[in-house]
Structures are given as C-alpha cells and as structure tokens.
Symmetry: C2
Subunit: 391 residues, 2 copies
Amino acid sequence: MPAVFEQQEYKKRVQATKQAMQKQGIDLLVISQPANMNYLIGYDGWSFYVHQVVLVSLDQDEPMWLGRGMDANGARLTTNLSEDNIREYADDYVQSLVKHPMHFVADVIKEKGWGSKKIGVEMDQFYFTHRNYVELEKSLPQATFKDANALVNWVRVVKSEAEITFLKRAGKIAERVMQTAVDTIDVGVRECDAAAAIAYAQYAGTDEFAGDYPSIVPLMMAGEAASTPHLTWTEKKYQKDEAVLLELAGVYRHYHSPIARTIFLGKNPPALMQETADVVMDGLAKTLDFVKPGVTAEQVEETWRKAIAHSKVVKESRLGYSIGVNYPPDWGEQTISLRPGDKTVIQEDMALHLIPGIWYKDVGFEVDATIRVTATGNESLFDYPIQLFLK
Amino acid sequence: MPAVFEQQEYKKRVQATKQAMQKQGIDLLVISQPANMNYLIGYDGWSFYVHQVVLVSLDQDEPMWLGRGMDANGARLTTNLSEDNIREYADDYVQSLVKHPMHFVADVIKEKGWGSKKIGVEMDQFYFTHRNYVELEKSLPQATFKDANALVNWVRVVKSEAEITFLKRAGKIAERVMQTAVDTIDVGVRECDAAAAIAYAQYAGTDEFAGDYPSIVPLMMAGEAASTPHLTWTEKKYQKDEAVLLELAGVYRHYHSPIARTIFLGKNPPALMQETADVVMDGLAKTLDFVKPGVTAEQVEETWRKAIAHSKVVKESRLGYSIGVNYPPDWGEQTISLRPGDKTVIQEDMALHLIPGIWYKDVGFEVDATIRVTATGNESLFDYPIQLFLK
C-alpha cells in the first residue's frame, strides 16, 4: 500500500513546488491544506481535524510529514517517505490549553537548522488557524514569514497524464451518481433516501474503481430550498411539481468530477424555469465552444455573459473554477475563478468546473460542465445528457 | 422550514453565551466555527468552504449572520433571524486576491458602532484562518482582540432536553449503521461496497428520522491499515483472517452518536487481539461504572488506566471527549478530553464518547461507549453488543 502515484510523479511535483518557492523567495514551506499534503507526498487519511503539516525545504530532497502519533502509521502506509522524514507528536499536544502542535513543528524546524529561514505558510487556508501562525512566530523568532497561501494550489493547476486518468475515472463515477439521482428522486420519496442512494453510488464507484468521499456532500435543494445552493436533505418527501437542484460529484482517490443537474417532478415546469434552463444550456454550449488553450479565465466568463445578454438571466457569482484533487470542505482548487479580473491563461490539461447555477426567489436551475482542456479545445469528463429532467 | 429547535432554546443559548462573554470581558463575538454558528442561530448549509460568521453583541438581542450572497436564502430558511440581521457579501469577495470577506465583516461591525469594542475571535478553530485575523485587525484599528477559541464550545457542553432527544435519535441510527457494517463486511466484499452500504444507512436514518452526514466519513481500517485509525476504503476485497476496525456514527441533524467496533474475518483471531479485546472491554465496563456527576474528566481516565494496569495494554492517547452537534472535519466538541490534567467536573446531561482504540504495529482493536450522563450515572445512546465480532 504505497503512495498511489509513481514516485517520479511526486518528485516532479516537489520540484515544481521548489521552483515556485525560489521565485517567491521562500526557503521552507509549511503546508497544512490536506489536498496540498496529498499532492506533494500522497498522504491520505481523515486526520486533518488535528494539526498536521508537510514541510518542503529547498535544501532537502524529500518533504517531511509531521502529525499526531496515531497517524504516523497512516503516513508510513500512504507515502513513500523515509522513516526520518515522518515525525510524530505526542497525544497531549491535541487540543491542549498549554501545548500546541506548532511547538512541535517549530522544534523540528530548529533541529533541521531551518529556524532562521524565510518560511512560507498558507495564511488563508482552512486548517491553518490564526493560532498556528501565532505559535510558529513565537517559537521561531529568527524566521521571516511569508504568505504562500495558494502556492501549491497553483502548482496543481495543470494536471499530469496520471491525474487526468484519475479525473476521467471520477467522471465515470459521476455518470452513475447522477443517473442514480435521476432514477431515485420522485414524488413521495424521502429526500434522505435519495441522498442515501446517491452516497451509495459515490462510495461504491464502478465495478473497476472504488469511489471516494466527495469534498462536499450531496447538495440537493427541493421546493422552497431551491432558492439557495448549499442545503442538504431532510425526512421531507418530494412533492409533485417541485424542482430539485442537484450538485453532486464522482470522486476517485480524491480527484473530483462534479456534476449538477435539475429535475422537475412534473410535466409542466414554471415558464421561468424552462426559459432559464434554455438560456443557460445555450449559453453554456456557446461558452464551451470558446474554451481552449490561450484564452483567459475572464474571457471565458465574458463569452458566457454575452451569450445570455439577450435574456433576463443574470449570474452574479463566478461562472466556475479549477478542480482536481481535494478534501472537505471544498472541491474547488482556489486558483482559477471564471470571472471578470481573472487573467489566467487557460492551458492544456487544466480541469474546470463551469457551474452556471441560477437561484431566484422562488425557483432555481443548475446544470454544469466539467472539462479537461485539450490541445485545441476541451472534452467533458463524463457523458451525461444536458437537459432539464422532467419526471 | 424554520430553525429546528424552539426559539426559546436559541434564546437560552445566546443568553448563556453572553454570560460567558461578560465573564471573559468580551463585548462582541465573531464566530466562524460551523457547529457554533448552528448552535447559536440554527444556521445550516454546506457553505463553510467560504468565510461566514455569526456576530453576538452584548448590546443587541439577536445575533447576526454574515455570509456569501447566494447563501443568504439559506440563512432565511434555516434561522429565525430578522431580515436586518442577515447580511450578504458580493461574490467578488470569494477567494479574491484584493478583497477579503473580513473587510465586509469589519464594515458591518463599524456600521453597528462596535468598531472599538473588545472582540472575541476563535483563534484556533479551523475556518478562522490567520488571514481572517490579519484583515479584521487591519480594518478595525480601534478594536481590542481576545481569544474566544472554545467559548461557545463550552456553552454547548451540557445538553438541553431537546438536544438529548436528538442525540438519542442519532443513537438509533448508529445501531442501524453498525449492524449494516457487521452484515455487509465479509471475505471477498470490496471495502468500497461496504463503505457504500454504511453511508446509505447513515443518510437514510430510520423510518421516522432522516440521517445526516457525519463530520467524519466511515473510518474502516482493514488488514495492515488496522495499525492506524484514520484511513478510509479502497477497491481491495476483504481477506480471510483480516481484522476490520470500524469507527462510524449515526447522525441526526448534525448531532452525533459515534459507534466503534472491530470485526475479525475468521474464527481464530490472533491471541494478542483477543487478549487486547478482553482487557479493553473489561476496562471500559469498569470505567462506565465510575462515570457520574461530580467526578472529573481525569478521574475517568485514571479509572480506565488502573483497570487495564494488570495487562500489557497501553493507551497513550486520550480516552475520549465530549460530543454533540458538529460539522466536518471533527465530531469532537473540543471541550472535555478524558486524560490526565483535565479537571472538568462531569455534570448531568453531558455527552461523552469513550473510544479506547488500540493500534499496535500489526494489529488493532476498537470499541466504544457513547453516553449521556444521568443524575446518578450514565446511559448509552444506543443498544448494541460490546464484543469482538467473529465472522
């Protein structure tokens, strides 16, 4: 049970990270975002509810994993790190009022002779709390701290061939997940039973590939809840003529292929919903025609905005974002946002989630495209009908 | 679809929070931990992957919800807050390099005349990043900041009658979840298919009550992975004579009843596993006999340690912790830890998870007790056999 990718793949990732560090004048990187930890060394495990970090230093080949004692065997099982680069802290550091895991991290940094280096930390990532910063700064008075908030996230933005294989497996799972939702959701069915069937499909995956837990649980807004995007489920039964907005995902080893569709439980959706659906699906198709290497993120959004300008549909939030490997609470990569001002140039082997969700006061509509950018355009990670589903 | 508890319940919670604020010299509380937000106003939704807060001010009756525009309808649907106390920021604050949601929070704080108050923030909670602190401090130069890290968590520690009802429903779901695991896991079954069946049971709940997503996905370590506690599942098939360590939960509206058991896929478990199981189950029973109002957290752990002192079993990590309402990534409350040094006096209507998990190099064993403290002792939240399951 070694790390899931070839060792060469991790080496390349660490190399690219070190190049980014050099550009930004950073000697040592302290990484606490779980997806970045996984990306750099393969580390996996639901242990991110306690403090843990990966260290990347310019003067050492291999990164280091530092975490709670009981998780060190997890690091041995899921990474290829040598024993000296797996360091565990005692359990009395956990949620203590006296000790803090960052004291342990600082001790290792000093032991390695890195105590007066320029240290990059992820200042706006969940899992890097304010206290983490305070304790590190106090324990390393000779160090200079720099914000390396999305440094590794940006290294992740262009996917390797192996990652694209994983994303396509996630796409295959996404097809099954959405089909399960469309098959299960119906008048009289409890929301929670539909959620259960969806989760089953997410975890079981395909006959060949295990599914994985998504970074966001099934979002499935029905009835009045369809006016907002982030609610889950209750014991309520679906009603006739109710709309159900679904934002789901297929996941393979933490690589995500989100998939969003809308079901209307009746034959005659409200005129506003049908109009919105038509405008959005047409606008999305025109936008996808435009996405290819060389265009910018804001141009993609502009294409969308122009394509729907003839209608009453307004999308105030960003059109989409970059995806890849992730852990709760978000499957967005926190790099590219498809919105005005984002001048990132789209490149081959980026992966994007375009999610033109529209939530009015009384009705909403969601559909999406999850794509890999190819040499000349883009391809969907899954093969699933783009339509408003009537049942 | 109003908040799930009676309005009176929320009023009491806010009142108790304000008392704690007064004791600690805090005028205004900025809460970003999702469970604390839910506890104070009922707010629900998987929107915690962007910055959002609840404000509690000594000089205002009602708390305020501040979050992303698209989630404001979620706040309207899941809380009883008046419209003026729901404030939404524009989407270009999301993951921007220029704007930050804490600028918006600071603007509201200034508008309300709270800009020079003593402000409590949750300095070591995930979801309160270092950048949150930096931006708040910069935007509110007249304010004094104090650490209110677990202030609301400690208000949560004694449960109301309504909360105990929820915890018992979670316990009912936990019984089904573990039974599903015991029924499903067997030689030749893929780990991911067992995980899928478990998730189905978690989300579907009972015929009466919807299940909810747990704050930690099914942890199910098999074979060599049984040497560590926080791994999930793969496409691997269970093997004969393999141990499977399960740490699961039943959840009702974010209230958790964790449940942990161990299955051995054979008739003859290794001697070390059977011995460990016997010692741990006996020690746990003796510890439960001891837990009642008036004893301290460290005395509970001491009772456990003495009960297993005659054996070779050593448990280096804490024996357990307080539970209740929670959101990913942790179902622990971050208040009571059953370990040396924690002098918290156990009170009626606290809820505790005792999880004496033992992980050796080659073999592990897990079992647990999830209890509510009664007037004279304690009661289990679920009715499920305590044993090493042989299949």
